[in-house]
């Protein structure tokens, strides 16, 4: 048990580092697409260190104080509840604790925490952002649920390890090829889940300063920042397990998550932004229709 | 049969009055006619052609020397008894109706039905 906790700690740290690195790479790629040099790929590490070592910080109240912890906890929880490497007892983390449904609900934990903290700050803009986020969530969760339920029924399990096990045995056993429409729906939902353009209205740095964390600074912000990074990695791993057949070793995991990451980066950099209701309508139409093709196929079978 | 038809006719005349007439007094007259029709019907029911009234007269007593009437010679007495009651009741109803009409007239100075349609729906 104890070695599990140790490994969990290592995974968390590794996840954080990987998440920050991916953030840096994303910034670099964006810059290159803009025709700029861009920051170093380690820029996010530097930012995090700076934020951690700011000398002052303000708090607006209890919820404001606790929210970054909820956020971090939610991120770490998601990362630790999904098995990273199939068959490895160490890198399957705490996935004995719960199945896909647990992970789906635990994913909300951090978001809810952040939303509450933001609302507690008393800033109207930071209260506005979660409402957009939740509305958009109602948008992307529909196609995502279609693909998750479809896969669960198709493979007769909601255990993530079970889903990965069902995809072993060659690239064409991946759900991406077995159930391409479900996967497309799920991957479109993933775009929304990462609040990447064109679904970035939640953060909306132009109209509402920086989304929920408007009032957050210093240490608080660093917690949120790292929470978000870890959460992002956790979600990549989840999507990898769902659609890309999981991973049998760490290298494969890195490659696959990086591939997912690249999808997001390239979509993000070429799209403008939807308004909330446009995003919701988009999610409720195209990916849903696409997903339903496979969904109905599974339903009839 | 004639009596029967005539009394039915009277009853229907009375009903017709209640159906069509707009004047309260005329409706009351209609009711009286209906009453009369019924009374006539009752009498006709007890009537047997060629028989006498079931009345004990002194003349008869002296002639026959007995109170007893020959039952086979008289008509059925019960309808006649009934009709007496019915007539009385009919009069009472008519009197009641007329007094109500008098009151109605004193309230609205009218005895037309059109002026008494406040209670409806």
């Amino acid at each position: 048990m104890w070695y599990k906790i140790l490994y969990a700690f290592l995974v968390t740290v590794g996840g954080l580092a990987y998440g920050l690195l991916l953030g840096g790479i994303s910034r670099k790629i964006t810059a290159r697409i803009h025709g700029r040099r861009g920051p170093t790929v380690f820029q996010n590490f530097i930012d995090l260190i700076k934020l951690l070592r700011k000398k002052t910080a303000i708090s607006h109240g209890t919820m404001f104080f606790l929210a970054p912890m909820f956020r971090l906890l939610g991120g770490v929880g998601v990362l630790l509840l999904v098995p990273i490497v199939y068959g490895s007892s160490i890198l399957s983390n705490f996935s004995f604790g719960g199945d896909l449904i647990v992970v789906l609900y635990f994913m909300v934990f951090g978001c809810l925490g952040m939303a509450l903290g933001a609302a507690d700050s008393g800033h109207p803009h930071s209260a506005l952002a979660p409402t957009r986020g939740l509305a958009q969530m109602a948008g992307y969760e529909l196609p995502f649920l279609i693909s998750v339920i479809g896969l669960a029924i198709a493979h007769k399990t909601v255990s993530i390890s079970g889903l990965v096990a069902a995809q072993q045995g060659g690239i064409f056993h991946w759900n991406l090829f077995q159930y391409p429409f479900l996967s497309i729906a799920g991957l479109i939902a993933m775009l929304g889940m990462y609040m990447a353009y064109p679904f970035s209205v939640v953060m909306a740095p132009q109209e509402i300063p920086v989304g929920p964390p408007t009032e957050y600074s210093s240490t608080f912000l660093s917690f949120m920042f790292s929470g978000r990074s870890i959460f992002g990695v956790g979600k990549y791993v989840l999507f990898m397990d769902l659609f890309l057949g999981g991973a049998t070793n760490l290298v494969e995991a890195f490659v696959k998550t990086f591939a997912l990451f690249l999808i997001i980066v390239f979509v993000t950099n070429v799209f403008p932004r939807y308004r909330t209701e446009q995003a919701v309508k988009f999610f409720w139409t195209y990916p849903v229709v696409i997903g339903l093709i496979d969904f109905i196929r599974i339903f009839i079978k | 049969m004639v009596f029967f038809a005539a009394s039915l006719l009277l009853i229907f005349i009375g009903l017709y009055a209640a159906l069509v007439k707009r004047n309260l007094i005329k409706i009351i007259i209609g009711l009286s006619i209906m009453d009369t029709g019924v009374n006539m019907l009752i009498i006709s029911l007890g009537f047997v052609k060629g028989r006498t009234a079931p009345i004990i007269s002194l003349k008869e007593l002296f002639k026959k020397g007995t109170w007893l009437v020959d039952v086979s010679k008289v008509v059925d007495p019960l309808p006649q008894a009934l009709v007496l009651t019915a007539i009385v009741i009919g009069v009472a109803v008519t009197a009641m109706a007329l007094s109500v009409v008098i009151r109605m007239y004193s309230v609205k100075k009218s005895i037309e039905i059109d002026d008494f349609k406040e209670l409806k729906w």
């Binding site: 809810l112 939303a115 008393g122 | 409706i27 209906m34 109500v100 209670l119």
Partner: protein, 1063 residues
């Protein structure tokens, strides 16, 4: 015992002596009058008492002038006529007392003479054994009533009187014609004599048919059947209510007895058809025409006419409906109870209408709150008239429905629809009357007669309940429990001198019952589904009643009695062993909760009541469908003995769906939850809606397997549940009232439970039962907190709140935990329910329902956040800067419930161990899931370790907290307006608070889904019915000629039916 003829003689003499000796003064007149009435009453009471104690065994036959029956006129007094005589004289005496106390504006002696004559006439009418004599008495009654109706001498009463005279004359003419033709035909006028000589084969000849047409026609006019009752309604509206009270309460019942007698003696052909056509049409038409009525007296008139229609229907079935055994007995008691109920409640209503004097319904606004006694009398009468349990009208209706043969199911359906219509208008009236309005309320006259009436009515209600439980042979436990419920709530009312005392009493009573249930295993033998719900009800109730004390100051004195009543009737539902008992307690619960909701929102309560009535009567109709053959009272298990149509199941389920608030029957829920007294809403949401779940389980387990199409029904139910869950969640996010958000949330959550039930697998039941308890915990918590917040802030409007976390930290903590549970986020208890449900759905491969259910829970996050944000977070307003934490009882309840969610979240066994037992009692061998290790629960599809999740969450929370405390030194807590607001200084909290219409953007996306389609459909149906009724009620033109025309048309119609013999 007094010779009945003496009654008539004495009354006659008294009437004449008053007429002659009226110069002796008022005192003499009144003295003679009262002596006569009292003597008559005593005399007839002694006869009735003789019958009751069986001292008199045979009917009394009085020979007048010593002639034996066929020759002489004689009186015949049997049990029924003696009892009816008592009622007539009682109502007569009360009406006279009432009238005298109001003052008679006509010369008093004349009115009293007419009153005596009226009583004399009706007594004679009831007692006589001779057809011609009957005519005479009818005429005496009629003439006296003509005079009395006109006695106000204003244009209304004179008009009514004249109409009555004309139509009445036509009626009596036909009765006379019938009598003399009968004499011609049978050679006798004695009823018994004629009856002995008539058999049905004689009707093949023409004469007897014509005779019966005459009698039927004449009597049907007097009984105010549908196309010929315009005059009667005009009397109800126009005449003096004291007179109307006697007419409606006593005299018409005399006519009814005469009708039954003549029908019995003459063996009317096709009586059943006549009864159904005229009785049913009268009942239905008058109930619907009453909807648009603005004049309260005419409204009561419509109701009276409707009741008479029901009586005719019942009478026709009793005499000619081929009822056997119990059914015949039930029908007799239905008739008796209908008569008694109508006599006492309707006369009370007319008395009260006269006391207050106002005609237009709007002028009655607020009467209930202004005078408590008046309100009590009015409410009791109205409740009894509308058939609310445990009053007499309810037992009458129940007997009636049970007695009607199943072939005539359409009659049951139509009568129940009529009953719903009746509730609709009666309680629309009640809604207006119970509106809060200040001011003093004055009435002229004495309230004593009404008081007497209501006391008799209450006594009779007890008698009715007693008779019902004895006759139907239901388990006597339920009867005793009903008595216990009534007595205990009355005790709370009577002994509770202050709110504190009432609170303690209610707590004590609920606690005592709980103690009794736990100690005494006879009520609940082994732990099964019923005891599961008994514990649920009692545990919920005791917590919620505990929380109400601080709120109770503004509640009226009936709050706690009704609360106790509702709670105990829910216990009654849970322990009931057959469908009828279930129905009785169900109705008790509906009505008592209606009265509770009516303490708050009147319109909301009305909608709640109407929907409840639709559900409840739907259930009754379904039960009726179940009860075939000799088995009038279907027990739960016996329903398997025969195949029944799917409609039985659907109809019974309607009631439960209404209580669960399943779309499209949900329209009551938002306002009823939102506007009911805050102390009651937790119970309404947490426990009362769960009774629907209980009923649903019973139906699905005991009934549905025996129905055709049961799989389709279940799948349909699951869809209803799923769509309810989704759309109610969508609606919830756009509400701006805290309780309305919670209301929609509540029915959305109950939608999940319905899905669980519809699965009908053991895992589905596990999910449903778990969620039932869990919903009680967290929704109770949220509603209790909302009640406290409304109590402290004085508003339930969300945009008015904000920032309250600074003032109410404990409430916030509890509320937050409630919300996390509601959202189903691990590690709190909400997740387990979701997981079980989803696993069950996966197991059954109901993919689309699973999709909708999961999606609905995502939508739910939106209102979860909205509640937390708008109440507790954001900017604190100036007016709440001095607001305190909630009162202690509320905080205790909140924290206990919050602790429960946490405990259950880590150890779901706390609930699951109970639900497992309950599920096993339903005949399943396993709960559908298994324990792989101590804490790891495994279903066919997935697994989940609650204990680990809890420890994980708490552990990492603690680690994060420790980490954070290192950074604490440099953190400064800033003021609420210290925000980075473009370098600007905000001038007030309101200006930077985001609290209104949080999801405006979402609304643009889902506009078409949240448009109130269902509500508008209901409204449209209601409005078009209203318009239709408003148009068709012009049928009663008020024109005498038209009335006479309808009389003639009906005559032809009766002639047609009877003469053709076919229809």
């Amino acid at each position: 015992m007094v010779n009945p003829v003496v009654i008539i003689a004495i009354t006659l003499i008294a009437a004449f002596s008053i007429g002659i000796f009226q110069f002796l003064g008022k005192k003499f007149v009144r003295g003679v009058f009262w002596l006569t009435v009292l003597f008559d009453f005593a005399a007839i009471l002694s006869i009735a008492y003789g019958f009751l104690t069986k001292a008199i065994k045979n009917p009394i036959m009085v020979k007048i002038g010593g002639f034996p029956p066929p020759i002489g006129i004689n009186l015949y007094v049997d049990q029924l006529s003696a009892y009816l005589g008592v009622v007539v004289f009682f109502i007569g005496a009360m009406a006279a007392y009432h009238w005298l106390s109001r003052g008679i504006n006509d010369p008093e002696p004349k009115a009293l003479v007419l009153l005596l004559l009226l009583l004399l006439g009706s007594t004679g009418m009831i007692f006589t054994q001779d057809f011609f004599n009957l005519f005479v008495f009818i005429e005496i009654t009629s003439i006296a009533s003509y005079g009395l109706v006109a006695s106000n001498l204003d244009s209304f009463s004179l008009e009514a009187s004249f109409k009555y005279i004309v139509i009445g004359s036509i009626s009596s003419t036909f009765v006379l014609l019938g009598a003399v033709l009968l004499y011609k035909f049978a050679g006798s006028l004695n009823m018994a004599d004629i009856s002995a000589h008539i058999n049905s084969s004689m009707y093949s000849g023409g004469m007897l048919i014509i005779i019966s047409i005459m009698f039927l026609f004449g009597l049907l006019i007097e009984l105010e059947v549908f196309p010929m009752n315009g005059w009667a309604l005009d009397i109800y509206q126009g005449a003096n209510p004291a007179v109307v009270a006697i007419l409606a309460g006593g005299i018409v019942k005399g006519f009814y007895l005469v009708f039954l007698r003549s029908a019995n003696y003459l063996k009317f052909p096709h009586l059943l058809k006549i009864g159904i056509i005229f009785g049913l049409s009268t009942y239905i038409v008058s109930q619907f025409f009453a909807w648009k009525q603005k004049d309260i007296r005419r409204l009561f008139g419509y109701s009276s006419v409707g009741q008479l229609g029901l009586l005719i229907l019942a009478g026709a079935f009793y005499l000619n409906g081929n009822l056997h055994g119990f059914a015949k007995k039930y029908m007799l008691f239905a008739i008796i109870f209908f008569v008694l109920n109508h006599s006492f409640s309707k006369s009370t209503l007319f008395f009260l209408a006269d006391l207050f004097g106002r005609r237009r319904i709007e002028e009655w606004k607020g009467v209930l709150s202004k005078n408590k006694l008046f309100g009590f009398l009015f409410s009791t009468s109205v409740l009894s008239m509308a058939g609310a349990p445990p009053f007499l009208g309810f037992w009458a209706k129940l007997f009636f429905i049970l007695a009607i043969p199943k072939e005539y199911f359409y009659i049951v359906a139509l009568v129940l629809i009529g009953a719903i219509a009746e509730i609709l208008y009666y309680f629309n009236l009640y809604r207006i009357i119970s509106e809060k309005e200040d001011g003093i309320f004055d009435y002229k006259g004495s309230i004593v007669p009404s008081l007497f009436n209501v006391f008799v009515l209450l006594g009779l209600s007890a008698f009715g309940a007693y008779k019902f439980f004895i006759l139907t042979g239901l388990d006597i436990q339920s009867g005793k429990f009903l008595a216990f419920i009534t007595i205990s709530s009355v005790a709370v009312f009577v002994l509770g001198v202050s709110r504190l005392a009432q609170w303690i009493l209610s707590l004590g009573m609920i606690g005592a019952l709980g103690f009794h249930v736990i100690k005494n295993t006879s009520l609940v033998p082994a732990f099964n589904i019923q005891s599961f719900f008994v514990y649920l009800v009692l545990a919920g109730a005791i917590m919620f009643v505990f929380a109400t004390y601080p709120l109770s100051k503004k509640y009226s004195a009936v709050f706690y009695p009704l609360f106790v009543f509702t709670v105990f009737s829910m216990v009654g539902i849970s322990v009931s062993s057959n469908w009828i008992t279930l129905f009785i307690f169900w109705e008790l619960m509906s009505w008592s909760s209606y009265l509770l909701i009516n303490q708050g929102g009147k319109k909301a309560a009305w909608i709640y009541l109407v929907m409840s009535a639709i559900g409840g009567y739907g259930m009754l109709a379904g039960i009726k469908l179940l009860s075939t053959g000799p088995n009038l009272i279907p027990s739960f298990s016996s329903s398997s003995a025969f195949a029944v149509s799917a409609w039985a199941g659907i109809l019974i389920f309607t009631a439960f769906l209404v209580k669960m608030g399943t779309a499209p029957l949900h329209i009551w829920a938002r306002d009823a939850y939102g506007e009911s007294p805050d102390g009651f809403t937790p119970l309404l949401s947490g426990v009362l809606s769960k009774m629907g779940v209980f009923g649903g389980i019973l139906t699905i387990v005991y009934l549905l397997p025996h129905l055709s199409h049961s799989d389709t029904i279940l799948y349909g139910l699951a869809w209803f549940g799923a769509l309810t869950a989704l759309f109610m969640a969508l609606l919830a996010i756009f509400q701006e009232d805290v309780k309305k958000v919670l209301a929609y949330s509540s029915i959305s959550q109950v939608g999940y439970i319905l899905i669980g039930l519809a699965l009908a697998t053991s895992l589905g039941y596990s999910a449903a039962l778990y969620h039932t308890v869990n919903h009680l915990i967290f929704k109770g918590l949220l509603f209790v907190a909302a009640a406290g917040i409304i109590y402290r802030t004085g508003t339930s409007y969300l945009p008015e709140m904000g920032g309250l976390i600074r003032r109410m930290p404990f409430t916030f903590l509890a509320f937050l935990m409630g919300i996390i549970t509601l959202a189903g986020i691990p590690p709190l208890s909400g997740f387990a329910g979701k997981w079980l449900l989803y696993s069950a759905l996966l197991e059954k491969r109901w993919m689309f329902i699973l999709l909708i259910a999961m999606f609905a829970s995502i939508v739910a996050f939106m209102y979860c956040y909205k509640l937390l944000h708008t109440i507790f977070l954001g900017q604190l307003r100036d007016k709440y800067r001095k607001t305190k934490e909630l009162p202690l009882p509320l905080v205790i309840v909140e924290l206990v419930l919050a602790g429960l969610t946490f405990a259950v979240g880590i150890k779901p066994n706390l609930i699951l161990s109970f639900s497992e037992k309950a599920i096993k009692s339903l005949g399943f061998t396993s709960p559908g899931y298994a324990y792989e290790s101590a804490h790891r629960i495994v279903s066919k599809f997935g697994y989940w370790n609650a204990y680990f999740m809890g420890v994980f969450a708490v552990g990492s929370f603690i680690i994060a907290l420790i980490l954070f405390f290192f950074a604490k030194a440099k953190i400064r807590k800033v003021g609420q307006l210290d925000i980075g607001y473009s370098g600007e200084v905000p001038d007030s909290p309101e200006s930077v608070h985001f609290g209104y219409d949080l999801y405006a953007h979402m609304r643009r996306a889902v506009r078409v889904f949240i448009y109130p389609h269902v509500e508008n459909t209901y409204k449209r149906i209601y409005n078009s019915l209203m318009a239709f009724v408003d148009y068709t009620r012009r049928f009663y033109t008020g024109d005498l000629n038209t009335y006479a025309l309808w009389v003639v048309i009906t005559l032809s119609f009766i002639f047609y039916i009877l003469y053709k013999g076919v229809f």
